[in-house]
Amino acid sequence: MVLIIGGAYQGKLDYARAAFRLCDEDIFTCTGGEIDFSRRCIHRIEEFVFSCPDALGYFKAHREEWEDSILICRDIFCGVVPMGEENRAWRRDTGRLCQYLAGEAAQVSRIFCGLEQRSK
Protein backbone atom coordinates (compact mmCIF):
# COMPACT_ATOMS: atom_id res chain seq x y z
CA MET A 1 0.00 0.00 0.00
CA VAL A 2 1.10 3.53 -0.76
CA LEU A 3 0.01 6.43 1.43
CA ILE A 4 0.05 9.92 -0.09
CA ILE A 5 -0.42 12.87 2.24
CA GLY A 6 -0.15 16.63 1.84
CA GLY A 7 -2.02 19.87 2.38
CA ALA A 8 -5.02 21.04 0.40
CA TYR A 9 -4.55 21.60 -3.35
CA GLN A 10 -0.93 20.42 -3.34
CA GLY A 11 -1.34 17.97 -6.22
CA LYS A 12 -1.67 14.65 -4.38
CA LEU A 13 -4.08 13.13 -6.89
CA ASP A 14 -2.11 14.47 -9.86
CA TYR A 15 0.99 12.86 -8.42
CA ALA A 16 -0.85 9.53 -7.96
CA ARG A 17 -2.27 9.64 -11.49
CA ALA A 18 1.19 10.17 -12.99
CA ALA A 19 3.20 7.88 -10.71
CA PHE A 20 0.80 4.93 -10.84
CA ARG A 21 -0.78 5.56 -14.26
CA LEU A 22 -4.29 5.83 -12.89
CA CYS A 23 -7.34 6.55 -14.98
CA ASP A 24 -10.62 8.00 -13.67
CA GLU A 25 -12.12 4.53 -13.18
CA ASP A 26 -9.29 3.60 -10.81
CA ILE A 27 -10.15 6.39 -8.39
CA PHE A 28 -12.73 6.35 -5.62
CA THR A 29 -13.42 9.76 -4.10
CA CYS A 30 -14.79 9.54 -0.56
CA THR A 31 -17.90 11.56 0.18
CA GLY A 32 -19.40 9.52 3.02
CA GLY A 33 -18.81 6.68 5.46
CA GLU A 34 -18.33 3.85 2.92
CA ILE A 35 -15.37 3.04 0.66
CA ASP A 36 -15.32 1.02 -2.55
CA PHE A 37 -12.03 -0.81 -2.10
CA SER A 38 -12.33 -2.44 -5.52
CA ARG A 39 -10.79 0.77 -6.95
CA ARG A 40 -7.00 1.01 -6.92
CA CYS A 41 -6.90 4.50 -5.49
CA ILE A 42 -8.92 5.86 -2.58
CA HIS A 43 -8.94 9.65 -2.53
CA ARG A 44 -10.10 12.15 0.17
CA ILE A 45 -9.85 9.69 3.03
CA GLU A 46 -10.27 12.66 5.39
CA GLU A 47 -13.84 13.07 4.09
CA PHE A 48 -14.52 9.40 4.81
CA VAL A 49 -13.24 9.93 8.36
CA PHE A 50 -15.54 12.93 8.77
CA SER A 51 -18.56 10.70 8.09
CA CYS A 52 -17.46 7.47 9.76
CA PRO A 53 -17.79 7.07 13.53
CA ASP A 54 -14.93 4.52 13.69
CA ALA A 55 -12.67 5.09 10.70
CA LEU A 56 -9.69 3.23 12.15
CA GLY A 57 -11.86 0.20 12.99
CA TYR A 58 -13.32 0.28 9.47
CA PHE A 59 -9.87 0.20 7.88
CA LYS A 60 -8.67 -2.56 10.18
CA ALA A 61 -11.77 -4.63 9.35
CA HIS A 62 -11.08 -4.25 5.60
CA ARG A 63 -7.32 -4.80 5.93
CA GLU A 64 -6.99 -7.29 3.05
CA GLU A 65 -8.92 -5.11 0.62
CA TRP A 66 -6.50 -2.15 0.65
CA GLU A 67 -3.19 -3.99 0.99
CA ASP A 68 -2.22 -3.04 -2.57
CA SER A 69 -4.08 0.26 -2.75
CA ILE A 70 -2.99 3.84 -3.20
CA LEU A 71 -4.50 5.84 -0.34
CA ILE A 72 -4.66 9.64 -0.39
CA CYS A 73 -5.35 11.79 2.65
CA ARG A 74 -5.19 15.55 3.19
CA ASP A 75 -2.90 16.88 5.89
CA ILE A 76 -5.28 18.71 8.25
CA PHE A 77 -2.98 18.61 11.25
CA CYS A 78 -1.02 21.86 11.34
CA GLY A 79 -3.54 24.52 12.30
CA VAL A 80 -4.83 25.81 15.61
CA VAL A 81 -6.93 23.28 17.57
CA PRO A 82 -10.40 23.64 16.00
CA MET A 83 -13.02 25.41 18.13
CA GLY A 84 -15.79 22.97 17.20
CA GLU A 85 -15.95 19.52 18.80
CA GLU A 86 -16.81 17.91 15.45
CA ASN A 87 -13.70 19.29 13.75
CA ARG A 88 -11.51 18.40 16.72
CA ALA A 89 -12.70 14.78 16.51
CA TRP A 90 -12.24 14.83 12.74
CA ARG A 91 -8.65 16.00 13.05
CA ARG A 92 -7.88 13.52 15.83
CA ASP A 93 -9.38 10.51 14.04
CA THR A 94 -7.80 11.40 10.70
CA GLY A 95 -4.43 11.77 12.41
CA ARG A 96 -4.72 8.42 14.16
CA LEU A 97 -5.77 6.72 10.95
CA CYS A 98 -2.85 8.28 9.03
CA GLN A 99 -0.37 7.09 11.64
CA TYR A 100 -1.76 3.56 11.40
CA LEU A 101 -1.77 3.60 7.59
CA ALA A 102 1.75 5.05 7.43
CA GLY A 103 2.91 2.20 9.66
CA GLU A 104 1.37 -0.36 7.33
CA ALA A 105 2.47 1.35 4.10
CA ALA A 106 5.35 0.25 1.89
CA GLN A 107 5.72 3.85 0.72
CA VAL A 108 4.68 7.17 2.26
CA SER A 109 4.88 10.25 0.09
CA ARG A 110 4.19 13.82 1.10
CA ILE A 111 3.31 16.20 -1.72
CA PHE A 112 4.46 19.80 -1.37
CA CYS A 113 3.58 22.25 -4.16
CA GLY A 114 3.32 19.35 -6.62
CA LEU A 115 6.67 17.83 -5.60
CA GLU A 116 7.03 14.48 -3.91
CA GLN A 117 8.94 14.08 -0.66
CA ARG A 118 9.41 10.43 0.24
CA SER A 119 9.23 9.84 3.99
CA LYS A 120 9.10 6.03 3.81
Binding site: C78, C113, Q117
Partner: protein, 178 residues
Protein backbone atom coordinates in the same frame (compact mmCIF):
# COMPACT_ATOMS: atom_id res chain seq x y z
CA UNK B 1 18.68 31.22 -10.59
CA UNK B 2 15.03 31.21 -9.67
CA UNK B 3 13.72 30.16 -6.28
CA UNK B 4 10.31 29.36 -4.93
CA UNK B 5 10.12 29.54 -1.12
CA UNK B 6 7.15 28.59 1.02
CA UNK B 7 6.37 27.45 4.54
CA UNK B 8 4.40 28.45 7.61
CA UNK B 9 4.13 32.00 8.91
CA UNK B 10 7.02 33.49 10.93
CA UNK B 11 9.44 30.70 10.06
CA UNK B 12 12.14 32.79 8.37
CA UNK B 13 11.11 32.69 4.69
CA UNK B 14 11.78 36.39 4.08
CA UNK B 15 15.11 36.24 5.89
CA UNK B 16 16.31 33.32 3.77
CA UNK B 17 15.04 35.03 0.61
CA UNK B 18 17.02 38.17 1.45
CA UNK B 19 20.16 36.17 2.15
CA UNK B 20 19.83 34.38 -1.18
CA UNK B 21 19.29 37.67 -3.00
CA UNK B 22 22.48 39.08 -1.49
CA UNK B 23 24.43 35.89 -2.26
CA UNK B 24 23.36 35.96 -5.92
CA UNK B 25 25.06 39.35 -6.32
CA UNK B 26 24.36 42.16 -8.77
CA UNK B 27 21.59 44.74 -8.73
CA UNK B 28 18.92 43.83 -6.17
CA UNK B 29 15.26 44.72 -6.31
CA UNK B 30 12.77 44.19 -3.55
CA UNK B 31 9.31 43.90 -5.08
CA UNK B 32 6.96 45.29 -2.44
CA UNK B 33 3.51 43.80 -2.91
CA UNK B 34 1.51 44.70 0.16
CA UNK B 35 -1.20 47.34 -0.03
CA UNK B 36 -1.51 48.91 3.39
CA UNK B 37 -4.98 48.90 4.85
CA UNK B 38 -4.11 50.75 8.03
CA UNK B 39 -1.84 51.25 10.99
CA UNK B 40 -1.00 47.57 11.55
CA UNK B 41 0.10 47.13 7.93
CA UNK B 42 2.09 50.39 8.04
CA UNK B 43 3.97 49.05 11.05
CA UNK B 44 4.64 45.71 9.32
CA UNK B 45 5.93 47.45 6.19
CA UNK B 46 8.14 49.71 8.35
CA UNK B 47 9.60 46.63 10.08
CA UNK B 48 10.29 44.93 6.74
CA UNK B 49 12.05 48.07 5.43
CA UNK B 50 14.20 48.18 8.60
CA UNK B 51 15.06 44.47 8.12
CA UNK B 52 16.34 45.17 4.62
CA UNK B 53 18.37 48.22 5.56
CA UNK B 54 21.98 47.95 4.51
CA UNK B 55 21.34 44.98 2.18
CA UNK B 56 21.39 47.19 -0.92
CA UNK B 57 17.87 46.61 -2.20
CA UNK B 58 16.05 49.06 -4.41
CA UNK B 59 12.34 48.87 -3.60
CA UNK B 60 9.94 48.53 -6.53
CA UNK B 61 6.26 48.73 -5.64
CA UNK B 62 4.07 46.29 -7.53
CA UNK B 63 0.59 45.39 -6.36
CA UNK B 64 -0.94 43.54 -9.33
CA UNK B 65 0.91 42.70 -12.55
CA UNK B 66 4.46 41.63 -11.76
CA UNK B 67 5.52 42.42 -15.33
CA UNK B 68 5.10 46.13 -14.52
CA UNK B 69 8.37 45.88 -12.56
CA UNK B 70 10.29 45.47 -15.76
CA UNK B 71 9.27 48.96 -16.89
CA UNK B 72 11.93 50.53 -14.71
CA UNK B 73 14.08 47.66 -13.40
CA UNK B 74 16.87 45.82 -15.19
CA UNK B 75 15.72 42.26 -15.96
CA UNK B 76 19.23 40.95 -15.35
CA UNK B 77 19.02 42.00 -11.70
CA UNK B 78 17.89 39.94 -8.71
CA UNK B 79 14.16 40.25 -7.95
CA UNK B 80 12.84 39.33 -4.53
CA UNK B 81 9.06 39.02 -4.75
CA UNK B 82 7.65 39.01 -1.22
CA UNK B 83 5.00 37.83 -1.41
CA UNK B 84 3.11 35.84 -4.01
CA UNK B 85 0.32 35.60 -1.42
CA UNK B 86 -0.17 39.37 -1.34
CA UNK B 87 -0.10 39.68 -5.14
CA UNK B 88 -2.80 37.05 -5.59
CA UNK B 89 -4.84 38.54 -2.77
CA UNK B 90 -4.67 42.04 -4.30
CA UNK B 91 -5.95 40.66 -7.60
CA UNK B 92 -8.53 38.18 -6.31
CA UNK B 93 -10.10 40.60 -3.82
CA UNK B 94 -9.50 44.08 -5.32
CA UNK B 95 -9.77 46.88 -2.82
CA UNK B 96 -11.24 49.29 -5.37
CA UNK B 97 -14.08 46.83 -6.10
CA UNK B 98 -14.91 46.56 -2.42
CA UNK B 99 -12.98 43.24 -2.19
CA UNK B 100 -15.42 41.44 -4.47
CA UNK B 101 -13.86 38.25 -5.84
CA UNK B 102 -12.31 38.62 -9.31
CA UNK B 103 -11.12 35.18 -10.45
CA UNK B 104 -10.01 36.32 -13.89
CA UNK B 105 -7.75 38.96 -12.39
CA UNK B 106 -6.18 36.30 -10.14
CA UNK B 107 -5.54 34.08 -13.18
CA UNK B 108 -3.96 37.00 -15.05
CA UNK B 109 -1.78 37.70 -12.02
CA UNK B 110 -0.71 34.03 -11.89
CA UNK B 111 0.10 33.90 -15.63
CA UNK B 112 2.18 37.06 -15.30
CA UNK B 113 4.15 35.58 -12.38
CA UNK B 114 5.00 32.44 -14.33
CA UNK B 115 6.07 34.52 -17.37
CA UNK B 116 8.14 36.77 -15.11
CA UNK B 117 9.91 33.74 -13.60
CA UNK B 118 10.86 32.70 -17.12
CA UNK B 119 12.16 36.12 -18.16
CA UNK B 120 14.29 37.35 -15.27
CA UNK B 121 17.83 36.20 -14.67
CA UNK B 122 17.33 35.82 -10.92
CA UNK B 123 14.01 35.69 -9.12
CA UNK B 124 13.04 34.69 -5.59
CA UNK B 125 9.35 34.14 -4.98
CA UNK B 126 8.06 33.91 -1.43
CA UNK B 127 4.67 32.35 -0.70
CA UNK B 128 2.76 31.08 2.32
CA UNK B 129 1.82 27.51 3.14
CA UNK B 130 -1.80 27.77 4.33
CA UNK B 131 -3.05 24.32 3.43
CA UNK B 132 -2.78 22.02 6.40
CA UNK B 133 -5.46 22.77 8.96
CA UNK B 134 -8.77 21.22 9.94
CA UNK B 135 -10.97 24.21 9.23
CA UNK B 136 -14.02 24.34 6.96
CA UNK B 137 -13.56 27.70 5.26
CA UNK B 138 -16.06 29.86 3.40
CA UNK B 139 -16.27 29.47 -0.37
CA UNK B 140 -14.29 32.65 -1.03
CA UNK B 141 -11.51 31.64 1.39
CA UNK B 142 -11.33 28.20 -0.24
CA UNK B 143 -11.05 29.91 -3.63
CA UNK B 144 -8.22 32.06 -2.28
CA UNK B 145 -6.38 28.97 -0.99
CA UNK B 146 -6.93 27.19 -4.29
CA UNK B 147 -5.71 30.13 -6.40
CA UNK B 148 -2.60 30.50 -4.26
CA UNK B 149 -1.90 26.75 -4.34
CA UNK B 150 -2.27 26.70 -8.13
CA UNK B 151 0.28 29.45 -8.57
CA UNK B 152 2.56 27.87 -5.94
CA UNK B 153 2.59 24.66 -7.95
CA UNK B 154 3.19 26.45 -11.24
CA UNK B 155 6.04 28.47 -9.76
CA UNK B 156 7.50 25.36 -8.09
CA UNK B 157 7.57 23.77 -11.52
CA UNK B 158 9.05 26.84 -13.23
CA UNK B 159 11.74 27.66 -10.65
CA UNK B 160 15.18 26.04 -10.44
CA UNK B 161 14.97 25.55 -6.68
CA UNK B 162 12.03 24.92 -4.35
CA UNK B 163 12.51 25.41 -0.61
CA UNK B 164 10.21 24.88 2.33
CA UNK B 165 11.27 26.84 5.40
CA UNK B 166 10.53 25.42 8.82
CA UNK B 167 11.80 27.09 12.00
CA UNK B 168 14.39 28.94 9.94
CA UNK B 169 15.70 25.75 8.35
CA UNK B 170 15.61 25.15 4.60
CA UNK B 171 14.11 21.89 3.35
CA UNK B 172 15.09 21.60 -0.29
CA UNK B 173 12.44 19.91 -2.43
CA UNK B 174 14.06 20.62 -5.77
CA UNK B 175 17.40 21.95 -7.05
CA UNK B 176 20.30 23.44 -5.11
CA UNK B 177 20.46 26.17 -2.48
CA UNK B 178 23.15 28.13 -4.34
Amino acid sequence: MTYFISGGAKNGKSKLAQELAVALGGKRYYVATMISTGKEDDERIRRHIADREGLGFETVECFRNIMDCLGTADKDGVFLVDSVTALIQNSLFPMEKNYEMDLEAAHRCADALVSFAGIVQHGIFVSDYIYADAERYSESTEMYRKCLADIDRRLAQACDTVIEVSAGQAIIHKGELL
